[in-house]
Amino acid sequence: MLAYVLKRTGAAIATLVAASIVIFIFIHLIPGDPIYVMLGDEATPEQVEALRTRLGLDRPLYVQYFYWAGNVLQGDLGTSIFFQEPVTVIIRDGAETSLLLACVTMVWIVALGVPVGVLAAIRQGTWVDQGLSGIAMLLASIPTFWVGLYLILIFAAHLGWLPSSGYPSIFEDGGLSNLRYLLLPSLTLAAPNAALILRLTRASMLDVAKEDYVRTARSKGIRPYRVVVRHILRNALLAVVSAFGFTFAALISEAVVTETVFALPGIGRMVVQSILRRDYPVIQGVILVIVCLYLVINLLVDISYRYLDPRVDLE
């Protein structure tokens, strides 16, 4: 087990290093000189050169990379060109919204996707199953922002029950009641992902139901309910849990759109705006943090999977 953990951690770190190089090179391929973005078009060549030297942008690319990577390891992601603030502060400011949004969304996904998937599997082949599976596929075929705009139209514009945009921190005015700002965004984000988890839960349940030990349990005369809960569901959930890592990564990616629709002050919207502003340090920092988060989650999922199901071999 320890060997497995070490091996997987090593692989994750290697991937992270490779990803950091890719991010670094990517950012420097973006057309448009950040110096001009910072100084405006009227800057004199002397000013431009002076700033370029000050920021170290005149040095060879690999030197810039090691300089950047060294700082990152010390917790310094650089300074935003646009805000003139440390990138870590900007990420911290957006993190509350993004992480809360992801967590509330995960609650929806687990609460809706798993039980409905179990129901579809139990009623396999009936109209209940076909209906639920059809709805799941439909939800996975809808653009998230379309769902979001319709939720705004119905619940914010027409009914006026919920706010349509923004999110004030729960640590400031309003407390936990501010979570209502995340209700529509989280539903928007949850729809396609809950659909995927539903399909996965159903497929996984049906796979496990074919196992010999399920037949044995049934033939021993164990009550059907107990077979489903104890023998099928417990084992089927393993595959579902491992999919949560993928889902979380999908949430971060899709949150870019959802945060834009609902004008949420999260990391996703920050990335889009930084891309448009050519704010290199912020783009670099945010993407690196997101990739890091994704790798850590997947590592934890892999390890817990191995722990929960010792049959999974080491490779």
Partner: protein, 287 residues
């Protein structure tokens, strides 16, 4: 009608909903090809008097803020939708399949290539696409490329998995022991057996490409705004959602119907796939 086509259609006969999906897709292809003939107005025709007018006999789907006919624009939008879909699928197959096959047949190169695929998969897909658009510039071709790169990774992985299994088949081993060249094996044994799984993958990629392109359009980083794509129409309609909700409805419905039909067809094709390959095309599709 050839037997192959007949057996293909017979699968759909058992699943009426999927048959509807297939019919929809054929219709949308026809519409895309004949948009100029079918559409009552040119997509860029402006009628300032009829700004934001609701659906009527003259304008079935209403008009937008320039008085342009939404129905005609929706019909023309199908062209870009198909172009994006075909483009993304072609790119993903043209890059992913060689990477997958080479990785499976030459483990030394494969280890490096598949690690690179892993690294690319560590990036959230939409951010990867956004980053590429910013580097390459905003155009339809670059949108195709940016979304194609996302599905390059999944296609490479599936091809890799399928090739690994096929490599172990007795007939492939027999061919190899008789001195068949690698290229011959790929052409005669590996590629023909890969058509079904790749067809399933292609239909899902086509579906997700629709959603990805719509998201890029919505963020203002997809097709240039003057092109009547469904995503662009939705992005423009955003400020008018309370005044002109029909602008939000029809383009979105087209995206949903297209993606849904493709998913339905892909699902049916997957169900009749060789069970050994089915699990590789499971629910872990990247979005």
């Amino acid at each position: 009608m050839t037997t192959k086509l007949r057996s293909f259609l017979s699968v759909f006969a058992a699943r009426p909903v999927a048959l509807l999906g297939l019919v929809y897709l054929v219709t949308i292809i026809t519409v895309a090809l004949g948009a100029d003939l079918i559409a009552p107005y040119a997509p860029e025709d402006i009628e300032p008097v009829n700004r934001l007018s609701p659906p009527s006999w003259g304008h079935w789907f209403g008009t937008d803020h320039f008085g342009r006919d939404t129905f005609s624009r929706v019909l023309h939008g199908s062209r870009l939708a198909l172009l994006i879909g075909v483009g993304v699928v072609s790119f993903a197959l043209a890059t992913g399949v060689p990477i997958g096959i080479i990785s499976a047949l030459f483990p030394r190169i494969g280890r490096v290539l598949m690690r690179m695929v892993d690294v690319m998969m560590a990036f959230p897909s939409l951010l990867l696409a956004l980053g590429l658009i910013v580097i390459l510039g905003q155009s339809v071709a670059n949108a195709i490329l940016a979304i194609g790169v996302i599905y390059l990774t999944t296609t490479a992985r599936i091809t890799y998995g399928v090739t690994l299994r096929l490599r172990e088949e007795t007939y492939v081993e027999a061919a190899r022991s008789m001195g068949a060249s690698t290229l011959w094996m790929i052409r005669k044994h590996i590629l023909p057996n890969m058509i079904s799984p790749l067809l399933v993958q292609a239909s899902f990629v086509f579906a997700f490409a629709q959603l990805g392109a719509a998201s890029l359009d919505f963020l203002g980083l997809g097709a240039p705004p003057e092109i009547p794509s469904w995503g662009n129409m939705l992005a423009e309609s955003r400020i008018y959602i309370t005044r002109a909700p029909w602008l939000l409805f029809y383009p979105g419905l087209m995206i949903v119907l297209t993606a849904f039909s493709l998913n339905l067809v892909g699902d049916v094709l997957r169900d009749r796939l060789d069970p050994r390959f089915r699990e590789m095309l499971g629910n872990r599709q990247r979005r």
